[in-house]
């Protein structure tokens, strides 16, 4: 039980860190549509890949992917997949409020919880 919880926690923590770092990087980069109009697609791609937070975010997302693969090799897909994905919706909402200072109002909490429950139900 503890091992399963640890595996799910590792996936959720690394996925949340990856999402928050990527979102923070995109906020630093600015509106990609505007950059693409000025510098074209190569300019927009360059602005993204040269951002430090984006690189860290990708590393965290890669760690999350390998944690997921590791968990799949020990536990069932039907348990790990929905549990990790649905919990990530809630942890992302908490982390976005804390680290990105997003205004997570009642409507967004409801959305995160509804999607979290919905994704968990998809396992049945």
């Amino acid at each position: 039980m503890l091992a399963t919880t640890s595996m799910i926690a590792a996936i959720v923590v690394t996925a949340t860190a990856g999402d928050i770092l990527t979102a923070s990087a995109m906020r630093q980069v600015g509106d990609l549509d505007a950059i693409r109009q000025r510098s074209g697609i190569p300019g927009a791609a360059w602005a993204v890949v040269t951002n430090g937070r984006f690189g860290l975010g990708i590393i965290c997302l890669a760690l999350s992917f390998f944690s997921l693969l590791f968990a799949f090799s020990h536990r069932d897909l039907s348990l790990i997949g929905p549990a990790a994905t649905s919990l990530t919706f809630v942890t992302n909402a908490v982390a976005a409020k804390l680290f990105l200072r997003e205004n997570v109002d009642r409507r967004r909490w409801m959305a995160a919880v509804f999607v979290c429950v919905g994704v968990a139900l998809l396992a049945f």
Binding site: D33, S73, A96, R101, E102, R107, R108, V115, G118, A120
Partner: protein, 154 residues
Amino acid sequence: MTFRRYVVLGVITLTASCGDTFLSRGMKAMGPVSLGDPGALIHAIFSPWVAAGIVLLIGFFASYLTALSWADLTYVLPASSLGYVIMTLLAKFWLGEHVSTMRWLGVVFITAGVGFVTRGPSYTDHSGPAEAAAIEAGTPEAGAAERAAEEVRR
């Protein structure tokens, strides 16, 4: 939110769900792959369904990053989760999988969640608690703050 931005959210939803379904179909056609045989995974990349799935998932990541450059993470994630609904519909009607009542209930919950978040603003101002409170309360100042933030981002 402009029409073009709703299109980007639609592209995220479609490319994620179709990309995963294509990968699933391609890998099922290949049969079980052992971790001790990485060459089989390389071979899988060049099969038509898996290759198409990878192209779609690259498109997904590009549109996801684009959306994050003008919308909050807590807006983009639930708004694009409609992909799970599309994936369930594709599993049922294209791959011929059985979808239980609980899974249909899950689809209803996700659709409701998407409905909640897309009725609100896509980007909230993070500069100060007063503006944040105004946005949360839905006062006229909130609209002004959001428009100002939108202008700054343009």
